[in-house]
Amino acid sequence: MATTEQEVNELIKREYEHGFVTEIETDTFEPGLNEDVIARLSAIKKEPEFMLEWRLKAYRRWLEMKEPNWAHVGYPKIDYNSISYYSAPKRKEDMPQSLDDIDPELLRTYEKLGIPLHERAQLAGVAVDAVFDSVSVATTFKEPLAKAGVIFCSISEAVRDYPELVQKYLGSVVPHTDNYFAGLNAAVFSDGTFVYVPKGVRCPMELSTYFRINAANTGQFERTLIIADEGSYVSYLEGCTAPMRDENQLHAAVVELVALDDAQIKYSTVQNWYPGDENGKGGIFNFVTKRAACIGKNSKVSWTQVETGSAVTWKYPSCILRGENSVGEFYSVALTHNYQQADTGTKMIHLGKNTSSTIISKGISAGKSSNTYRGLVKFGPRAEGARNFTQCDSLLIGDRCGAHTFPYIESLNKSAIVEHEATTSKVSDEQMFLCRQRGIDPEQAVSMIVNGFCKEVFKELPMEFAVEAGKLLEVSLEGSVG
């Protein structure tokens, strides 16, 4: 009485929902990477001189670096000269002055993705920066945010309009020397989001960036910088999708968060890049460096991520807990299906006194996928009274997938306390039988069981996105029963 193989196959063939391509005229660099390309990129963006120098320095260093191979993932060698490093929709002027200047095709694209940019349809209470390939095409609610003193704009604008803030903080958390992909990003980053929340301001709405890769053979190298000044609070969410293509595409982003005294940043990600087809063809290589510096005392950063997309994910949102009593949190759901590979986790670096961190990681593997948690909890010599709690749970669906856990703990302070729990479980035949015996469809049963497994993480997401994340899991799990 098992669900027949045929039914399962039909379900698997259901298409990735956001896999369409927008037909639009673009300005695209020919593939290849050299100093001229970087200079052209910087010129197109009308960047100040310091920025070009910054990029070239990073590029020269990157040439000497080696691609990391320690992650539990395998992928074909990337030819960095076959990628185009800039692609943007053609437009008359440098920056669209209002939404009316934006190509209607672009507006339709975002509407189709559920992110209406037009004022009358904008998502209530959520300001959006829409990044399309290499450029930000629109940022909503800029004015009401400016009234509150919050700067919310594309990083390209920030480089021009707020050079002193950019110069002070860009690369301060993730230096270009940090790792191979961060080095590459520093050299060629094209757009991304910049947020500054001034002293004592509670950002009046959710901020979000929606990243869309559209053009073929291009890489997306976005850079996000969020600074929360003393006593401020901001909640930020990013979403990402891409068309279905047979070739792999590279997404190498860098996100830097800076929290000063008593500041709080909540950063949530719903990552749904194209994961490739059921045979593992195509999909995005998602090699991302995300790090937060809790510089100030009593500062707090929470990373919440729901990772369902990408062919290969390599990502460790981390916190450097420098300020006394600062708090770092990492809540993660990573789901892999078919031939997806994910090597993800976090680093909590405790440097200050009484710093504390919490890690809750939920890995779900289905199909022939591989899902790895990799985490580092480190206590420096001055981290008196610091503590960490880590919980890593893995859930397997079927018997052809894999789950791995690599928790590293380094302590240079005897007073530090670390607790670690880990479990691995399966969606059992008994659970499935119970659900089906109560009249529940097998697909619905799996998604209900998986949602239950992820509950602790979902409750950390902003409300409107928690529902979204649950639905996303449902779609991503289609065809996993059999």
Binding site: F433, G439, I440, M448, G452
Partner: protein
């Protein structure tokens, strides 16, 4: 209503059911008794459609429909309910959400509108009282950290919510103290209806003091070896299974104990 003809079933190549014949009409309560390993639970699982068991021959119909060719969930929607002997836990999924999903799956199947969370909450609270479960249990994970008795009451609660045509109760009495047994029995008696058939699987006759069956069958080595009325269960309690030519050490020991107590 339920008609089982010459049913054979095996698990991992070993034949467990060796030709079961049984007719249950709407309104009737049947009890199946028998020693451990006689195939009682297998019968329950096969009727509900657990694919760990292979039906090798025979037929089963529910109101004329061939039950065996249907998926588990389709049988459930046709009105087959199984109260599990060992209800499994589903961590993180609230009992309330689980039960509402089940009820709405059935309603959807019948072309009825789904119940919203508030409507369902009201219904669930009422039914939970019927089985003496604190409504706080509705918010807990399905069977998560429930005691044996709580799990059994939770199963009966689901039967009361889903209102099946055929309720199969697999050792619903096992592991219960006398008070819990009474609560469960009250729940089962509340299920009794002229439109519903009940098949109770039990090892002990004590459940039948509280839920009086219309028919009692003795299952041994995969076949029904004796059928009778209520009095058959009492006879089994007194005499054990030996007089039917059935070997069962556990029950022999039990009846020896109860004999010596007389």
């Amino acid at each position: 209503m339920l008609s089982i003809k010459n049913l054979h079933a095996s698990v991992e190549g070993k034949e467990i059911l060796k030709g079961i014949n049984l007719e249950i009409n709407a309104g009737e309560v049947h009890a199946i008794m028998g020693p451990n390993g006689s195939g009682k639970s297998t019968l329950a699982q096969v009727l509900a459609g657990n694919d760990a068991f292979d039906v090798t021959s025979g037929e089963v119909t529910l109101n004329g429909d061939n039950l065996l060719e249907k998926e588990t969930e389709a049988r459930a929607r046709d009105g087959v309910f199984l109260a599990f002997q060992y209800p499994v836990e589903i961590p993180g999924v609230s009992n309330l959400q689980f039960m509402r999903t089940a009820v709405n799956s059935m309603r959807h199947h019948r072309g009825e509108s789904e119940m919203n969370a508030a409507e369902f909450m009201k219904l669930a609270r009422e039914v939970s009282k019927q089985v003496d479960l604190d409504p706080a249990f509705l918010k807990r994970g399905v069977n998560e950290g429930f005691s044996g008795g709580e799990k059994k009451r939770n199963e009966i609660m689901q039967a009361l919510l889903l209102q099946p045509k055929l309720a199969i109760l697999d050792e619903t009495d096992s592991g219960l103290d006398i008070d819990a047994l009474k609560v469960v029995a009250d729940g089962v008696n509340a299920l009794r209806s002229k439109d519903r058939g009940i098949l109770m699987i039990t090892h002990y006759q004590r459940l039948l003091d509280h839920i009086v069956p219309d028919y009692v069958h003795v299952l041994a080595e995969g076949r029904i070896v004796k059928s009778g009325g209520r009095e058959l269960a009492l006879e089994l309690e007194d005499r054990g299974y030996g007089w039917l030519g059935i070997k069962d050490e556990a029950t022999d020991a039990d009846s020896a104990l109860s004999n010596s107590a007389h």
